[in-house]
């Protein structure tokens, strides 16, 4: 009986240890930083993490099929400048939104085709595609950011408030719900998971593993496109390097997520909690007056700590040919 409960405790810690860590971070800042617990500040934190949460969910979907997508940040920037250019040029904003999504999806599928058809490992393939996206972003803008007073309906997509909540929070919740539903309730989602968990076994069982990898990388691209639209609307501007900073933080959110809920595996709920931890740290450290380099150091420690817990899947994906 005693041994059983000990094992149960250990299993609980493995599943929820990092989530408890998130609660600890929350309690710590609530106690140490006087303005942390105000509703306004909590809304700020939730709003700020929406980009890395959505990008992280995309990255996690690709990683579910055991493929790395290191291009999502640059693809987001490219889709952002394309969307921004269209809105700025007075085109209907619906068209700009479609263009942003289409560019994200197209680059995701490009990643997928390079990986599945040309057999280039995703680590290399997506870095190359990242460079291509970066080139296009500068080609469109010449390095100048696109700024303006834009159609309020478009800006509402990023800055609006619905039911008292920042709209970004609702988009994030919608993306997470959609991804969870896809992975857990649909056959294609399960096949994506099988592809990442046991590619040979999945292929022998008749699962189209290459198509699943294409899909995983395509979805990551689509998440980048969606993020680009929210980013452009909420900043009312777009620059060819808008999203570069999200590469590390979004991946860190996924890695943190892999230490909980489904330990060792990329998962949506864990990614959300991981993003929340990163967001709380970024915000809380500023409230405490910590200088910028402390944030970088803490982020680095988080990545090392979470990878040390959940490295196996990532290395498998990174060096898989």
């Amino acid at each position: 009986m005693n041994r059983l409960s000990e094992a149960a405790t250990r299993a609980f810690i493995a599943r929820y240890g990092t989530a408890l860590g998130a609660v600890a971070v929350f309690v710590f800042f609530a106690a140490a930083a006087q303005n942390f617990l105000t509703p306004g500040n909590l809304a700020v934190v939730l709003k700020q993490i929406s980009y890395i949460a959505i990008l992280g969910i995309g990255f996690a979907l690709a990683l579910t099929a055991a493929e790395l997508d290191l291009s999502f940040a640059n693809v987001t920037s490219l889709a952002a400048v394309a969307t921004g250019t269209l809105v700025h040029g007075g085109k209907p904003w619906g068209l700009a939104v479609l263009a942003g999504l289409a560019i994200g999806l197209a680059f995701g599928l490009l990643n997928g085709l390079v990986v599945t058809r040309l057999k280039v490992p995703s680590l290399i393939a997506t870095l190359a595609v990242a460079s291509i996206a970066n080139g296009f972003a500068f080609m469109i803008t010449g390095g100048v950011s696109i700024v303006g007073r834009w159609n309020p309906d478009f800006v509402f997509l990023g800055r609006g408030v619905v039911l008292g909540l920042p709209i970004l929070v609702l988009w994030t919740a919608a993306a997470a719900a959609l991804a969870l539903f896809f992975l857990k309730q649909t056959r294609t989602g399960l096949h994506l998971t099988f592809t990442g968990e046991a590619e040979d076994a999945a292929r022998l069982a008749g699962i189209a593993t290459r198509r699943m990898k294409l899909l995983g990388l395509g979805l990551s691209g689509a998440a980048a496109g969606a993020t680009a639209i929210l980013l452009t609307a909420s900043l009312s501007s777009a620059a060819p390097t808008s999203a570069g900073d999200f590469l590390l933080t979004a991946i860190a959110a996924v890695l943190l997520g892999m230490t909980m809920i489904e330990p060792g595996r990329p998962n949506v709920t864990g990614t959300l909690i991981g993003a929340l931890i990163i967001g709380m740290l970024g915000n809380g450290l500023v409230l405490l007056g910590a200088p910028y380099y402390v944030q970088d150091i803490v982020l680095g420690i988080i990545i090392v700590a979470s990878v040390s817990v959940s490295a196996s899947t990532l290395t498998k994906a990174a060096f898989h040919v």
């Binding site: 140490a32 700020v44 390095g143 950011s145 980013l231 900073d245 500023v286 007056g289 150091i297 040390s308």
Partner: protein, 315 residues
Amino acid sequence: MRTGLLIAATAAVLALAPDAHAMKLGIVAFQMSSETHARVANAAEAAAKQKGWEVTLLNSRGAMPEHAAQLENLISAKVDAILVAMGKPVETDAQLAQAKSAGIRVLTVMSGTSPHTLFDIQVNEYEVGAQAALYLLGQLNYQGGVLLSRFEGNVGTRIRGKVLDAVLSENTAVKILDSHGMARTASWRDDVKAGMSALLLKHQGKIDGIWASFDGQAFVIDDVLQGMGLAKGKLPLVSVDGGQEASARIRDKTSLMTATVAIPFERMGTAAVDALDRIVVQKKPKDDIVHGPYLFMGAVLVDASNVPAEGKWPW
């Protein structure tokens, strides 16, 4: 292991946690890895600490969403004032408006103006660009061929390039032999080195002068020229920014660096803190310091005739 790391991070944060009551200033530098941004931010931080203020120095790492997020976080932190170095007021209009309505005074350095901020401390980049361009043309006696090292990824360097184009369009005896547009990457030095080396070889013997959009590029070009065995005075090499290394190279007998337009980044940082001291602490009206949205500070052209000694500034 994980718990240990968490405790260590917690302890580090607690050790840094400040006491209340002092004037709280948040400084946001758009990109600390860029030397000019860091010079402004670090000088301002030092000046503010000397006044006994509580300072939070943040780095937006060159990313707009991070920049906006940090402004939001500082507003949440209820700082008394925010100083933005090389920021983007138009893109962060919503955050700056929020700061204003929260009663937080925002002062910017080399960022541009906004209805929600006090004013912007600037050097006039158009004037700076014109000084550098005209100096180079003077060195050439208004004729010959020049090589350009450009950078379109930054407002300041882009303006300098455009002003140079304008100056050259009025002085048609000076021809652009070639120009290299620097790529925006972490390894930009390699890019400048490779691009300019190729152009120097291609136009060997026909080059009368070299223009670089900022000093960092000029240093790389200087090293390439020295490596090719060229001696000081052989070719004028002119750029913009100014700083200890630029002065050192202008003094150096082996360097080809001829002149730079020194922008007083440190002085802009300290002037910003002084202005905030008068406006926020001493409650003086803003118009006591400057009328209008800009406080212009002068840039100084530095060449062999006025180069300051080591550790000194030309102003």
